[in-house]
Amino acid sequence: MIRLEKRAAPSRIWAYLTPVVAVLATMVAGGALFALLGTDPWQAIRTIFWDPIFGEFAFYYRGQLLVKAGPLILIAVGLALGFKAGIWNIGAEGQYIIGAICGAAVGLAFYPMEARWLIFPLMVIAGAIGGFLWAMIPGILRTRFNTNEILVSLLLVYVAEQILAWMALGPLRNPEGAGFPGSRNLRNYESAANTELFAGTGMHWGVVAALIAVIFAYILLSRHLTGFHIRLTGESPRAARFAGVNPTRLVLFCLGVSGALAGLAGLFEVAGPSGQISIDFNVGYGFTAIIVAFLGRLHPVGILLAGLLMALTYIGGEAAQATLGLPAAAIQAFQGMLLFFLLGFDVLTNFRVRFGARAAA
């Protein structure tokens, strides 16, 4: 009989080792999948995991890793605060969209005035406020009317998508765009552009913000009273109440912070890598960030690493499509497998595998 025995404390060694084991297992299983599809598994695995970091074109891909990981980490850090406290914001995608719309709208309102010192900071503030307010809708509905925040935040994603389409077709449409949908390209408007801080590195303000958010969250959780309240509420809401935690304030704080960070991510994306408000501006960062938050075990540093790993599978996966002709669906299935292994092997951190009959208690 194989059985699991709970460890007194999580194993430090396995905490670091399980991701490695999981990635190796994914390589084996994924390789089998690719071989089944008629692709050389060695080459596929190398293209996905090795080439983006060390391959011929790594000079380009390394930067792209940051571009892809930045918004994921920024959103996931905010979500993790709420998740730790048992507050479920599933609608970061919507807050990301609204943040982008608000930020872009502020920038476009100033067009073509040039005053970077004024316009870009205002956009950043507007982006954060946009995401914050959108997250306040489930927040206030929950604290005032006891409406479940999972449902409200999730359904508001679809509402945000409709608003996005409306904005791209209507109010924010580029007046010089010959009637086509989509706003002016903010990258071509110097005062509003979220440019690379060092050319070719992929490092833009959104990546910087993500790093700051990681540090901020780390300090908050480990050193600050609010962080303690968050952890306490997650572990035992009743105990938290006795300890003087104000649940209303905590709900609004967690939803507000995660909304503001998602809004920021949207703003930095629309002003930088994406460049414009268009009907299909959002690409699912808000949902993928939920995965990243849990892969990182809701720990800021873990989230940083999980975000980079996730970004790697996207970038490497795209490369595998173009160079090896693997279908996009195979990459998606592969990412799913990676998650399964990462999450499944995690059991080794908290449990010991025992063989044979149960020892006397």
Partner: protein, 358 residues
């Protein structure tokens, strides 16, 4: 270390065998798709174009593609990736790839780019699009003749010029064929949701519509019409012949293959230059799928005559006198719409009811 040198050598060997007999490497052709190649519509037809290029040039070309590429930063990366891999020409097949295409083209002046349905060009960026509205006019004629209830319906995605042009063209020619005709438009506000398309088709049919035109790519409206019985539909993007001879009585097919072959050949010959192509029925970019026998012979003959007249240039789909919805004059008697006005069309023509969103 040893293994890596081995791999490198192997790579070099395969590249050497890839070199064609005349000493030129195969021309590398890249495609960026917005949907999956299994979408049965827009992306599917572009992928058919890729396969045709492969067929035409055999081992003189090497094709690559990436599907379901989101517009924006991801598209830019996909293009850069292909350019780095040595692509000679890259087709970017969605309107939303416009700015990314221009950005990447700036960084790779030696690579040729072809952007579908956009309007921004550069020395190494061409644009191309199809005059689907020509096909819509033919459909409109058939629709006007086939309707018994004098109500035809149109399932539209988003209010962009391309879609509005299609609505105007089909309404205009339906009205010419049958002055009593009315058209209802449903905006589904999505590019892709087959079940919603089915619901939209049902909603139209339940409101008395007996001809459904669609600007969405799935066959869901065809199935809804088949179930309702007595409702006419048209294939969109691909032939949808599985619903022929009825309810699907004809179709508009996007045929990109001739253009793609042409442009790849131009790259091989060194004659490629930046230009804007907007082709319709005449060069075969827009095909009218078989008109089935469910259509009376005289209507079919008229539709084919209209198709030929459009192809020969004898008839322009939008010819005055023609007013806008608000009654103001758009085209004077005998005047035809110029391409600029068509490209940015954002108004309904006279007779259509309802508002265009925004």
């Amino acid at each position: 270390m040893k293994k890596r040198t081995f791999l490198a050598a192997a790579l070099a060997a395969t590249m050497a065998t890839g070199v064609a007999a005349d000493g030129h490497e195969p021309t590398k052709v890249g495609f960026i798709y917005v949907g999956p190649i299994g979408d049965g519509g827009w992306t599917y037809e572009h992928h058919q174009g890729l396969l045709a290029v492969q067929e035409e040039f055999g081992d003189k070309v090497e094709t690559m593609y990436q599907e379901s590429v989101p517009e924006g930063a991801d598209a830019e990366r996909a293009m850069t990736q292909m350019a780095l891999q040595g692509a000679d020409i890259i087709f970017t097949t969605s309107f939303g790839y416009m700015d990314p295409t221009i950005n990447v083209a700036e960084k790779f002046p030696d690579v040729k780019f072809e952007h579908a349905t956009g309007y921004k060009r550069a020395d190494n960026v061409s644009t191309y699009s199809a005059r689907f509205y020509e096909g819509r006019a033919v459909q409109g004629h058939i629709a006007g003749k086939m309707t018994q209830s004098n109500k035809i319906g149109y399932i539209a995605s988003f209010p962009i010029p391309e879609v509005i042009r299609g609505i105007n063209a089909s309404y205009l020619w339906a009205k010419k064929a049958n002055p009593d005709v009315e058209m209802s438009v449903i905006w589904v506000y999505t590019w892709f949701d087959p079940a919603k398309e089915a619901d939209a088709a049902k909603a139209l049919i339940e409101n008395g519509v007996d001809v459904v035109l669609q600007h969405t790519d799935s066959t869901a409206p065809q199935a809804a019409a088949a179930e309702a019985g007595g409702v006419v539909t048209f294939g969109q993007a691909s032939d949808m012949s599985e619903y022929a001879p009825f309810p699907r009585v004809s179709s508009i097919i996007d045929n990109w293959a001739p253009y793609y072959i042409d442009r790849v050949r131009a790259v091989m010959d060194g004659t490629w230059e930046s230009k804007d192509t907007w082709d319709g029925i005449a060069p075969g970019m827009v095909e009218i799928g078989e008109i089935t026998d469910a259509v009376p012979a005289d209507v079919k003959a008229e539709a084919l005559a209209l198709r030929d007249a459009i192809a020969s240039g004898e008839t322009h789909v939008f010819t005055g006198p023609l007013n806008k919805q608000d009654g103001s004059v758009w085209l004077a008697d005998g005047e035809t719409a110029d391409d600029g006005a068509l490209a940015g069309m954002d108004f309904y023509i006279e007779g259509l009811t309802g508002d265009i969103p925004n």
